[in-house]
């Protein structure tokens, strides 16, 4: 797989566990010199294995107390239903993420809102205005017990 060896995987495991670690410390934990470790990290960044870093921001601190996951089935009889729906949904700032799926539902998306009244307003004026929706199901987040991007390398 793109010429990754066990040492590369060890480096990635260390970096996943502690993303703020300096390169020299990553190297020490992976059993490498700082220079050798830096070269491997550079190579993995160049190859696109390491895509970057993401800062995790607390939604509640920004005033977004409500998070709803929408599961949407599209009216696939319309020829460009997917493309038109996705283009319109992508443009909504309240929609934080969108994924297309293979299964009982076609698309899922995360919607953030300040409170339930705000959510209802977004839902009525923006979500229901999206084209080609056949069915919508909502799951409201109560609590997040685990949230990581870590891969079991």
């Amino acid at each position: 797989m793109h010429g990754l060896d066990d040492i590369d995987r060890r480096i990635l495991r260390v970096m996943q566990d502690d993303p703020d670690l300096a390169v020299a410390d990553v190297g020490r934990r992976a059993g490498l010199s700082a220079g050798a470790c830096a070269r491997r990290i550079d190579r993995m960044e160049r190859d696109g294995v390491i895509l970057g870093w993401r800062v995790e921001i607390d939604r509640r601190a920004l005033g977004y107390a409500v998070r709803v996951f929408l599961r949407i089935t599209l009216d696939k009889i319309a020829p460009r239903a997917f493309d038109e729906f996705l283009a319109a949904a992508r443009a909504l700032p309240e929609v934080e993420s969108i994924q297309t799926l293979l299964g009982r539902v076609d698309v899922r998306m995360d919607v953030g809102a300040r409170d339930l009244a705000h959510y209802q307003e977004i839902y009525r004026t923006k979500i229901l205005a999206l084209p080609h929706i056949a069915e919508i199901e909502a799951l409201m987040l109560v609590s997040e017990l685990k949230s990581t991007d870590r891969l079991p390398l």
Binding site: M1, H2, L4, L12, M15, Q16, P19, D20, D47, V49, I50, G52, W53, R54, V55, E56, I57, D58, R59, R60, A61, L62, Y64, F69, R71, L86, A89, R90, P93, E94, V95, E96, S97, I98, Q99, T100, L101, L102, G103, R104, R108, M109, G112, E137, A138, L139, M140, L141, V142, S143, E144, L145, K146, S147, T148, D149, R150, L151, P152, L153
Partner: protein, 152 residues
């Protein structure tokens, strides 16, 4: 909860767009000196607004070709069942996200796997065998169309 001003929000937007920025680069993006930017970032971290950083890897290049969203409904409901289920499901390394939700499911999971047979193995051996599990629905992710954090 701390009060955020426009500069704080600008810092969060800059970091949200590129999590690899250091204090100097953040300062340049929002018109602050490096020490001033650093102090504000520290304050946001201490207040828990910035929870931390995550390394973002290309799942496919590392051999994880499949991401599946799994909805789980529990068959039995009681406090002990919930706790046993939650403890066991969060311990599965392939399960990246566990969310307790209200709606047609009780929990929502995001699972990474090498391929569909690998996912089937995880589903059958690890998820279906969790205490209290009733109905399970899996939807395989075809594409990630948008992935942003909250609006600052």
């Amino acid at each position: 909860m701390i009060d955020l001003d426009d500069i704080d929000r600008a810092i969060l937007r800059a970091l949200g767009a590129d999590g690899s920025l250091n204090a100097k680069q953040v300062g340049e993006a929002v018109g602050l000196s490096q020490p001033a930017a650093w102090r504000r970032i520290r304050r946001l971290e201490e207040a828990g607004v910035i929870r931390g950083r995550r390394l973002v890897l290309d799942r496919a290049k590392l051999g994880f070709g499949v991401t599946v969203f799994v909805g789980v409904r529990l068959a039995v409901r009681g406090r002990l069942d919930l706790e046993a289920f939650e403890r066991a499901v969060t311990a599965i390394p392939e399960v990246q996200v566990v969310q307790h939700v209200l709606g047609v499911f009780d929990y929502r999971l995001r699972v990474v796997a090498r391929d569909l047979p690998d996912f089937e193995r995880i589903l059958r051996r690890r998820i279906m065998t969790l205490p209290g599990v009733g109905a399970v629905e899996s939807n395989v992710m075809l594409s990630d169309e948008k992935d942003e954090g909250p609006r600052a």
